[in-house]
């Protein structure tokens, strides 16, 4: 659930998403759900000439399972906080496994 919460803190930021089929889409992150499905507003497809079917699309629902990368604005990520949260999560998981 850590990354779900993390992405929730990034709503209304501009992110670039690269899909597993190499399409890169930039847009405003509107929403994310438990499967990390992503909803983007005001989308802009980079290299649109290769993907003409996306030319008149204004917002998008992307299934989490096809996302390869999400590129985030550096200024919006509190790396220290994220590191702490990751360790806490890992400790929790280790506790559960025992």
């Amino acid at each position: 659930m850590l990354f779900f919460s993390f992405f929730k803190t990034l709503t209304n930021q501009t992110v670039t998403i690269e899909l597993k089929n190499d399409i890169r889409i930039r847009g405003i992150l509107k929403s994310v759900d438990q499967y990390l499905n992503i909803k983007l507003d005001d989308v802009e497809v980079l290299d649109l000439d290769k993907y003409p079917h996306l030319s008149s699309v204004k917002n998008m629902f992307i299934r989490g399972s096809v996302v390869r990368y999400v590129m985030l604005p550096r200024s919006e990520v509190d790396v220290g906080l994220l590191e702490d949260a990751t360790r806490r999560e890992a400790a929790n998981q280790a506790g559960k496994a025992r």
Partner: protein, 181 residues
Amino acid sequence: MERLSLNESPANAQRNPQQQPQQQQFQQQNSLGPAGQMPTSGPPQLPPQMFTTAAQLLDLTDKKLVLVLRDGRKLVGVLRSWDQFANLVLQDTVERIYAGKLYADVPRGIFLVRGENVLLLGEVDLDREDEIPSTVTKAPFEEVFELKKQEDNKRKSGDKKRHTELSALGFEPEHSGEILF
């Protein structure tokens, strides 16, 4: 789920107002914690029910959408129904086939798509839907279909060759062999 309003305030807003300051402080400290609380700082808070598959698809219901499937098919139709797995029902669907600089439309009717095959769903901007990029032109279906078949075969043999070479070197094929277009 469908009965929830997206504009409803978060659950904790209904609690005793005297407890709220404490509550918010607690949430701030735990904003990235495993409990999955939302941060109270920054932009206005969205209610938690915004963050479900159902809420994401709710806005797209009865809209004209482009659906891209895992096998590379592009379908244009009106979203009529869906569930939490992103299983979808599309009405008045048209399959749009692209090959090289050509495209063709094939009327298909109603589609029920299993969620796992969905790559993405895009809402068509009705003001811009007729602006077809100058790089593609409409052509008869047979012509486009033939060209697409050739392209697919070429890509398939290329992929196969790459996979054999990669696995000879001890690499797993990308997306563990799953084909995505």
